[in-house]
């Protein structure tokens, strides 16, 4: 056997991997920069030629459009209208995400129920809703259901608790009475004591091995303390009933019909996707886990709560959070039925002669910030779950 001959000559320049790598990257970077520069050049030129502003100073100009369901007048500056739009988008997201999680998990579990009818009904819901465009569902709920509600003057009034018409949906709500401040303090104290009880039950369980029931204990203590506070302060929270006064609704919680239509449609749509994820995750838990739970005589509820669900949720949570992201992005479809969220306002303002590139930049930036926040949450959740399990 001969020894490996050492070849130490440098490769020619155009065959040298290090040179090639550098050249390719410089070329790609330069190409992107040149394209961006050309686009920027065109943009500023075209904006100037069209007589539009090239900066963001226009945001202090008057809005010029009326926003339904808000007290912002058309003469308010544009940035106030945009902030209101962000608030309206958030109103959909904050209410929608818990709702769709609840419905999605329930339906996903129901699809695996031993009750034949429950499983089939859940399957029917998922297979129908999942395969229809969300925009069509929004239109259906709005045009075929909500717009068929009675007009304002003939509102459906269910004993002053709920008022329904084709413009608003109002529900009985709560109002703070004068002594609401002290009550908040009592709630805070009750929460602290409940946390203490939680900690005490945990310690006791660890020391003696008796079941801790810390959730029930803490909840019980919290409820009792809050109730005592509520009675002692003589009812710090009052009910506010919605009142139909001529053409306006006052009191209670009032939402635009368009808001409820978008919320209902998107929650139904996204929940069907969440249900599929939950079902798939439960099926992904090995059968042996359930059998082992049966072998140590856990009840069906205990099996689901302590054995199957913790493992299924570890699989399900990342895709469910990406459904939250989809939900957030889909709220932009509210534009179609005129609910004044971010996309709708942007669309209106562009139609009103505001510069389109800047408006779209702000709009996309807004959604990117939402997406960034949600993907940060995904990362944190992923890291925590990995630490907890392995």
């Amino acid at each position: 056997m001969t020894a490996v001959e050492e070849t130490r000559h440098r490769p020619r320049l155009w065959r040298d991997v290090r040179v090639l790598r550098a050249v390719i990257q410089v070329l790609a970077g330069a190409a992107v920069l040149i394209i961006l520069y050309v686009l920027w050049f065109n943009l500023t030129n075209n904006l100037r030629a069209a007589g539009l502003p090239t900066g963001f100073d226009f945001l202090t100009q008057p809005l010029g459009v009326d926003i339904p369901g808000s007290d912002i007048s058309p003469s308010a500056p544009i940035w106030r209208g945009l902030l209101n739009a962000v608030k309206n988008t958030l109103a959909l997201v904050v209410v929608g995400i818990p709702l769709l999680t609840l419905i999605g998990v329930l339906v996903g579990v129901a699809r695996l129920s031993t009750n034949w009818l429950v499983a089939k009904a859940a399957g029917l819901y998922v297979e129908i809703i999942r395969n229809i465009p969300p925009l069509l569902i929004i239109f259906f709920v709005f045009n075929a259901v909500v717009l068929r509600f009675p007009v304002l003057q003939e509102s459906l009034n269910i004993s002053d608790l709920v008022i329904v018409n084709n413009r608003y949906l109002a529900m009985v709500g709560f109002t703070a009475q004068p002594n609401f401040g002290p009550f908040l303090a009592i709630i805070a104290v009750a929460l602290l004591i409940a946390a203490g009880v939680w900690w005490w039950r945990t310690r006791r369980s660890e020391a003696t091995g008796v079941p801790h029931h810390r959730f029930l204990w803490a909840l019980g203590v919290f409820t009792i303390l809050t109730l005592i506070g509520f009675v002692a302060l003589g009812g710090p929270i009052g009910l506010s009933r919605p009142i139909l006064d001529g053409r306006a609704l006052e009191g209670g919680y009032t939402g635009l019909a368009a808001y409820w239509a978008v919320l209902a449609a998107l929650v139904l749509y996204t929940a069907s996707h969440v249900a599929e994820i939950v079902r798939g995750s439960i099926l992904a838990v090995p059968r042996g886990q359930s059998e082992a739970a049966n072998a140590i005589a856990l009840t069906p509820f205990q099996r689901l709560r302590y054995v199957v669900m913790p493992q299924a949720m570890r699989i399900a949570i990342p895709p469910i959070i990406s459904q939250y992201l989809n939900f957030t992005k889909n709220t932009s479809l509210a534009i179609a039925i005129g609910y004044a969220e971010m996309t709708r306002i942007t669309f209106q303002l562009i139609g009103n002669g505001q510069p389109a590139p800047q408006m779209i930049f702000l709009l996309m930036g807004g959604y990117l910030i939402f997406s960034l926040i949600i993907s940060l949450i995904v990362n944190v959740v992923n890291r925590r779950m990995q630490l907890v399990t392995r």
Binding site: T114, F139, A144, I296, L333, T343, A356, I360, Y367
Partner: protein
């Protein structure tokens, strides 16, 4: 500390096979008190929904669909040019048939070379797999007023079936060029629609436009998505940063904002003497959007290829580009087929968004017809929207079933 052994009060019940409907109902519907309650409540709800649905179906005014069926299907296509969509349909039928036939023949040949039994797909299986689409065609045809469309549709089905058998019996040397025949046929269908005084895609509408935006959007976006996916896995930092930046930026915003940018902002950033039409700008926006999603799908496929494959290719001295083209991509793309079908479904649903910008595709058409004088204020949205929903549902449901079947067949989910 002592651990008490669990006490079994009784032997676990033996699972017996059901003996008749009463026994089945007791086991599956009424096996304890809360299941019985649930069953009764749900049964009431289901019966109520069925009755409401039946009454709605029987009492609905279908005249609005019958009178506007052409608008729903092909938009404002000139009435004296109707032979054009039909010619395009026939081209597509031949194309689909021949591609399907040659794929089946290829599978048959590979199986016989490997000495494996080849199970032929029978016509009956195809009917079972695609019954929703056949049912939908029947429903749509039931709204036609003359017999011509029915005859033409049956003709197209027969021609498609004939092309399938033609594709199966083609000699191997010809079969290698099926892709070329497919490209020619697709071009022919476009020419028959738009060429020689026809209507280009700027004037299309209805379901035809939804399908066009879906197919064209995915086909054109695919090469870009492939490049972006390879860029994202590249070891060159600059290229990786560009790819990741593009993908994440696009995936962070809703499609509707990209469409709005296509409608109102593209005109500002391209030179002033290029003025693409409105539908073209929508298509550009869809392509830019889909490329990022396809990139993620392809990246999933690339990650599914075991590292050993690349190492083996390097060991036999393949150049990086050849490793990619001959070893990695064929395996990666095969693994992405189910996910690509999923992407197809979601784009098909998303093409309805161009309605917001006023293009008369299928969903917008359901609104246009409700503002016709004959139907204004009659509140027929339920009828028209249900009709559109049925079409979308059939398309998406059939494809999602097919994608699940492919997933099982390719064994993608089993790794």
């Amino acid at each position: 500390m002592t651990v008490e052994a669990p006490v079994f009060e009784e032997a676990p019940p033996q699972v017996e096979p059901a003996r008749g409907p009463m026994d089945w109902a007791r086991k599956n519907l009424f096996n304890n008190w809360y299941n019985s309650l649930l069953t009764l409540a749900l049964a009431a709800l289901v019966i109520w929904a069925l009755v409401a649905l039946l009454r709605g179906l029987l009492s609905a005014e279908y005249e609005i669909i019958r009178a506007n069926l052409r608008l729903f299907m092909i938009g404002e296509f000139p009435a004296d040019q109707l032979w054009r969509p039909w010619a395009a349909t026939y081209c597509f039928a031949v194309m689909l048939g021949m591609v399907g036939g040659s794929i089946a023949a290829g599978a048959r040949d590979r199986a016989s070379e490997a000495g494996l039994p080849y199970v032929r797909t029978t016509l009956r299986q195809v009917v079972i797999r695609f019954w929703p689409i056949l049912a939908l065609i029947a429903v749509i045809l039931s709204f036609t007023t003359t017999v011509t469309p029915t005859l033409l549709t049956i003709g197209a089905l027969v021609v498609g079936l004939g092309s399938y058998y033609l594709g199966r019996v083609l000699p191997r040397a010809v079969r290698r060029w099926t892709w070329l025949i497919a490209v020619v046929l697709i071009a022919a269908s476009y020419i028959s629609l738009a060429g020689f005084g026809g209507v280009g895609w700027q004037g299309w509408g209805g379901l035809q436009l939804n399908l066009f935006l879906t197919f064209a959007g995915l086909l054109v976006a695919f090469p870009f998505g492939l490049l972006l996916a390879m860029g994202r896995r590249s070891s060159l930092p600059v290229i990786r940063t560009i790819s990741v930046g593009y993908i994440e930026l696009v995936r962070g915003v809703p499609l509707i904002t990209v469409l709005i940018a296509g409608a109102f902002a593209i005109g500002f950033i391209i030179p002033r003497d290029i003025r693409p039409g409105f539908v073209t700008r929508m298509l550009i926006a869809i392509i830019a959007f889909e490329a990022a999603y396809i990139a993620e799908v392809v990246r999933g496929g690339l990650q599914a290829v075991p590292r050993g494959q690349v190492e083996a290719a390097q060991a036999v001295g393949l150049a990086p580009w050849k490793t990619m083209r001959l070893i990695v991509l064929p395996q990666a793309l095969r693994a992405t087929i189910p996910a690509m079908v999923g992407q197809f479904i979601s784009l098909f649903k998303d093409t309805t968004l161009v309605a917001v910008l006023g293009i008369t595709e299928l969903l917008e058409a359901t609104f246009v017809v409700n503002s016709q004088t004959a139907y204004l204020g009659k509140g027929l949205f339920v009828v028209t929207l249900s009709f559109a929903a049925l079409i979308f549902w059939v398309g998406c449901y059939t494809m999602s079933r097919e994608s699940r079947r492919l997933e099982r067949k390719l064994g993608v989910g089993e790794r």
